[in-house]
C-alpha cells in the first residue's frame, strides 16, 4: 500500500484541510477572547467542509457551511455580544490540582489509542454496505442522501422535526425574563 502514489491534488486538498482544522482548533483553545475563539471555530468548520468535499459529501459540506459556520457560530457571537463577556479572567486560576496534566495525559492516551487501533486494523474489507443503500459513484450525492433520509431514515427524520420544535421552545423559555419570580424574591 505504501508503494501507491497518491494524486497530488488530493494530497494538497488534504493538507489544506488539515492545516485549517488544526490551526482553528488550537486557536479555539489558546485565544483568550471568546469572539476570537468563535472566529477560530469558523476556520475549523471550513476545514471540515473542505474535507467533506474531498470525500464526495457535497451536500454535507454545504450544510456544514450554512448551518455551522452560518447559524451556530452566529448564535455564539450573538450570545457573546449579548452577555458582554470580555476576556476570561478565570483561566489562570487552577482550582483542581493537576487538572491540566491529567487532562493532557488522558487526551494523549485516547488519541494514541485511536491511532494505534487504526494502525493495527484493516478497515477496508471491500464488502459493500449492509444497509443496502450503497454510495454509487457518478450519481448525485444529494439525490442519494435525500433518498436515504426520506426512506430508510424517515422516522429519525420526523423525530428531528419534533426535536427542533422542542429546542426552539426550550430556548425561548430559558432566555425569557421571568418577571413574576423576580418580584416574588
Amino acid at each position: 500500500m505504501s508503494a501507491t502514489v497518491y494524486a497530488l491534488p488530493s494530497i494538497v486538498v488534504f493538507v489544506t484541510a488539515a492545516v485549517l482544522i488544526v490551526v482553528g482548533a488550537l486557536g479555539v483553545l489558546a485565544v483568550r477572547n471568546p469572539v476570537h475563539a468563535a472566529l477560530s471555530l469558523i476556520l475549523t468548520l471550513f476545514g471540515v467542509a473542505v474535507a467533506f468535499i474531498a470525500q464526495s459529501a457535497d451536500f454535507l459540506a454545504a450544510v456544514q457551511v450554512i448551518v455551522y459556520a452560518g447559524a451556530i457560530v452566529v448564535i455564539f457571537l450573538f450570545v457573546i455580544m449579548f452577555l458582554g463577556v470580555g476576556r476570561s479572567r478565570h483561566d489562570h486560576v487552577e482550582p483542581l490540582v493537576g487538572q491540566r496534566p491529567l487532562a493532557a495525559l488522558g487526551v494523549a492516551v485516547t488519541v494514541g489509542g485511536l491511532i494505534a487501533l487504526l494502525a493495527s486494523s484493516h478497515w477496508v474489507t471491500g464488502a459493500t454496505s449492509a444497509s443496502g443503500s450503497s454510495l454509487v459513484k457518478g450519481t448525485g450525492n444529494v439525490r442519494q442522501l435525500g433518498t436515504a433520509v426520506f426512506t430508510t431514515y424517515l422516522y429519525a427524520f420526523e423525530a428531528t422535526a419534533a426535536l427542533l420544535v422542542i429546542a426552539v421552545i426550550g430556548a425561548v423559555v430559558l432566555a425569557r425574563r421571568e418577571r413574576v419570580t423576580e418580584e416574588a424574591e
Binding site: 454510495l135 427542533l164 432566555a175
Partner: protein, 101 residues
C-alpha cells in the same frame, strides 16, 4: 488515487483530542460549548470518511442527524448560559457550586 482514509481518521482523532482537552481545561461555558462542537465535527469527519471507504450513504445520513442534534444542543445550551448569566453575571463554570455537598 485519493489519499487513504487513515489520514482523515488520524486528522479526526487529533481534532477530537484538541476538543476534549479544551473541554477539560477551560472554565468559560461558552468556550466549553465550542470545544464540544470541535469534538462533534471530529466525529462527523470520521462518519464521512467511513461512508466513502465503505461506500455506504448511511454514514452521511448519520452526519446529517448529528448536525441537527448539534444545532438543537447549541440553542438550548446557550439559552441556559444566558439564563445563568442573568443570575450570576458570570459564565465561569467554577462559580456554579450550589449543589456542592
Amino acid at each position: 488515487m485519493n489519499v487513504p482514509a487513515a489520514w482523515y481518521l488520524v486528522l479526526a482523532a487529533v481534532l477530537f483530542g484538541i476538543g476534549a482537552y479544551g473541554l477539560l481545561t477551560r472554565r468559560s461555558a461558552l468556550i466549553m460549548f465550542m470545544c464540544v462542537e470541535l469534538m462533534l465535527n471530529a466525529v462527523n469527519l470520521t462518519f464521512v470518511t467511513f461512508a466513502r471507504t465503505l461506500s455506504d450513504v448511511g454514514g452521511q445520513a448519520s452526519v446529517f442527524f448529528v448536525m441537527v442534534v448539534a444545532a438543537a444542543e447549541v440553542t438550548v445550551g446557550l439559552g441556559i448560559v444566558v439564563a445563568v448569566f442573568r443570575r450570576r453575571h458570570s459564565t465561569s463554570v467554577d462559580e456554579l457550586t450550589e449543589m456542592k455537598g
